[in-house]
Every structure is written in structure tokens, then in C-alpha cells.
Amino acid sequence: MSSIKDLYDAILVGDAKKAHSATKAGIDAGLSPMDLIQQSMVPAMDEVGRLFEAEDYFVPELLLAGRAMKSAMELLRPLLIASGQKLGTRVIIGTVKGDLHDIGKNIVASMLEGSGFEVIDLGADVAPEEFVTAVQECEPRVVCMSALLTVTMPAMRTTIEALESAGLRDRVKILVGGAPVTSQYAAEIGADGYSENASGAVTLVKEVSSAA
């Protein structure tokens, strides 16, 4: 089906307009949203991740692919909701309190969406209490936290402690990332995992959300 290939290609080259039109053409031709997601978007985001690992794609290409994927999801999400289709595993993501940097977090969010997850993006400068409220209200499977400053990294620890105090820690998998973060720090603060880049984050979210 040419829409499948057109959408795949559009995401890969980061063409948001073509992604939108290919999606519309696919829907008009009778493809289901899940067809487009599973046969175009997920493979496209996998390939984008592979190209990033191979150092053929860099941060700009990830941002553009994410944007193309988002423009497709604009059309698909209302259809999925209307048909009662269960969206993918729910993930909450945010940059921690005091930290305004969000490029990496935005890339992870859009790649997760493109891989079929339901993503709730809390934005930047998210206080521990906001994470707690979001977990209570949205009941995600995974919580992803980002920090780009060493001075805000301790907020990851206080957020995990806040989730523990609220009795919510056991209900979620907590993953952390951001340039100064390390797997050692993740282990030290009791997170469930760490990734050093966006494509690794997607792989990790898939792993932890399929584990018990």
C-alpha cells in the first residue's frame, strides 16, 4: 500500500507535511490507524533509532522525524480514541524541578509516541508533587525523568522519594536520562533504568513495560 511506504519515507526524512498527507491518504483509502502505526510508524522510528546509533542521524534528524510522526498522530489519535482502541502503554515524561531544558525529553517523547506508546508530557520544571499527581491521575506504567544540570539531578531522587511516600513507587517503572546522568546515579537513587540517548530510551521503555 503506497500510503504505508509514503508515511514511512516521510518520517525517515523528517517531512511533516508529507507525513500528514500520507496519513490522510491512507485513512481515506481505508487503512486503520493501527495499520499505519504498526506498519509505517513503528518501523520508521526503529530505523531512525538505528541510523542514530550508526551516527548517520543526529539530534536534528531525530527532532524532524519526531515532528513528522507527530503530524501523523494528529490525525490518528482522535480516530483511535473514537474507536475505543486502547492506546499503547502509558508513559509519563518530564524534565525535573528547576530544569528548563527539554530538547532531549521532547525527542524521547516523540520517539515513544512513534513507537506506539501513549505519552503524557508534563513539560519542564516539573515538581515532585506534580509527578505524584500525574501518576495518581493517569496511572502510567512508566515514568521518565530528564535533567540536564548537575544541580537539578537531585530532584530525581526527591521525586522518587515523593512517589514512595505516596505509596506509588511499586506501580511504576522509573527511568532517568539527560547528559550528566549516569547508570550509576540511576542505581543510587533507586531508578529502574537509565539510557544515554533517545533511541536507547525507547528500547528501555519497551523492555520495562513488557516485564512483570
Binding site: E55, F58, V59, L100, D125, T150
Partner: protein, 246 residues
């Protein structure tokens, strides 16, 4: 003592004002500011200067740096003591205390900082090359709108520029840290003008040269300074002490 001071350019004016008051002989080397944009790839730049100084038999090599986004993690001198003030970055140094900076930071979210050096020495469009081959994790994107449009086209180029500059739009204030160096008035005015142009609130706060003075004077109490024995390396703990020697 005979000391080698390896200093970030952003602290030039402050260090210059303190050197005459030090009881020690201090050889100063100033490295270009902005190395923190390289992330952990900053380390080789500073390490190379430490290695060079290590051969001269200084009593200590003192660093006008902090953790600097982990750019200073792993620094070591094979033969000489290294001394580094305990702070996350230069803002803690300029405020004279990592605790004072943290309190200000937590009570003033969304603030952009300036100091004499941040205004005087920052070079617009300066781009530092990564010391390593991998470009995977560059977040410090500095390309102009025109450069991005040329590479990615009007639509995608504009989008990328908007993404890379979006964090600036989240800021709501500019704080100038005053360190009392000579002829600071034009710099304060420049900071205020920058705030006005961005639509940010402006505040000037008094910094303190206390930490930098003690660094150059050899007053290295372990509460505020990490003394790294020869052969050991700086390692981030992110606790109150920021780092330790391992």
C-alpha cells in the same frame, strides 16, 4: 607556595583582582570559556593543561573551575596536588558559596545568569569542536537560523531553530552577579539591556570573591575545597560536597 592556577576565562577579572593579594607565587593560565558546551568532552582540554603543569613541580595546581556539567570529572594530576572549589559551576564560585547559589537557584526558577566575565568574554557564535568523534549527543546547538535553513530548508530549518532556542523563551529573569571588579557599571547596564530586550525581569545581586580568594591564598578547608592527591581523580558525588577524590 608555588601555585599553578588554571582558570576558566569567565573568571578572568575576578582572578586578576585577587592575584596581587595572594601570599603565594601564582602562575595563571586562562582557558577559553564555553568548554562546558562540550559536556564530558571538556575534560581533555583542561587535562592537557594540567598534564603540562604537572611537570614543573608546583606545590599545587588550583582550578578556577567547578563540576561544570561533569566537564571536570576525571581530572587528575599524576604528580601534583589538585585543588578545586566545591560548586556545580561558576555561578557558585561567583556567589562565593555553593549553598548560597543553590538557595538563590531554587527560589528563582527560570533565571538566566550574567557576570562580568559572562558579558565581557562570551564570543557570539563561538563554536567549540568536540574532542571526541561522536556527535551523537550534542545538545549545545549554536547554528543560526540562516545556517539551519540552508541545510534543512525553510520549514524544517525554522522548526529546528525554534526547538534549539525554546529554552530561552522559558526564562523569565536575568540575574547579574556583581563581583565588584573595576568598571563594572557598563557591564551591569549591558545585562539590564539584555533583560529588557528579552522581556525578562532584571536583578543585580552581589557576588562574593571569598571562595576564589581562598583558592588563590591556599586557604583550602575541606568543607569548601576538594584536594585531590597526586594520582587520584575528581569524581562527582552530587551530594553536598559535590565531588570527591578517588
Amino acid at each position: 607556595m608555588l601555585l599553578k592556577a588554571i582558570i576558566c576565562e569567565v573568571l578572568t577579572r575576578e582572578i586578576e583582582s585577587l592575584i596581587p593579594g595572594s601570599p603565594h607565587e601564582v602562575d595563571v593560565e586562562i582557558l577559553t570559556m564555553g568548554l562546558h558546551d562540550l559536556g564530558v568532552s571538556m575534560r581533555p582540554h583542561v587535562q592537557q593543561r594540567i598534564d603540562s603543569a604537572d611537570e614543573f613541580g608546583y606545590d599545587a595546581i588550583v582550578l578556577g573551575y567547578a563540576l561544570c556539567g561533569k566537564g571536570c570529572e576525571g581530572l587528575r594530576a599524576a604528580k601534583t596536588r589538585l585543588v578545586i572549589p566545591r560548586a556545580h559551576d561558576c555561578l557558585g564560585l561567583l556567589m562565593g558559596s555553593r549553598h548560597r547559589f543553590l538557595e538563590y537557584f531554587e527560589n528563582h526558577p527560570g533565571v538566566y545568569y550574567r557576570s562580568p566575565g559572562w558579558i565581557q568574554f562570551q564570543k557570539p557564535g563561538q563554536r567549540l569542536e568536540q574532542a571526541t568523534l561522536s556527535k551523537r549527543n550534542i545538545i549545545g546547538e549554536r547554528r543560526s537560523l540562516d545556517e539551519l535553513i540552508e541545510q534543512y530548508g525553510e520549514d524544517n530549518g525554522s522548526f529546528l531553530f525554534e526547538q534549539f532556542t525554546s529554552y530561552r523563551r522559558k526564562y523569565s529573569g536575568l540575574t547579574y552577579i556583581s563581583t565588584g571588579v573595576a568598571e563594572e557599571e557598563p557591564l551591569v547596564r549591558q545585562a539590564r539591556t539584555e533583560a529588557e530586550q528579552e522581556g525578562w525581569a532584571f536583578e543585580a545581586v552581589g557576588g562574593s570573591l571569598d571562595l576564589l580568594r581562598r583558592l588563590l591564598n591556599g586557604e583550602w578547608d575541606t568543607n569548601d575545597f576538594l584536594i585531590v592527591p597526586p594520582g587520584a581523580a575528581v569524581s562527582a558525588t552530587l551530594g553536598d560536597g559535590i565531588f570527591e577524590a578517588i
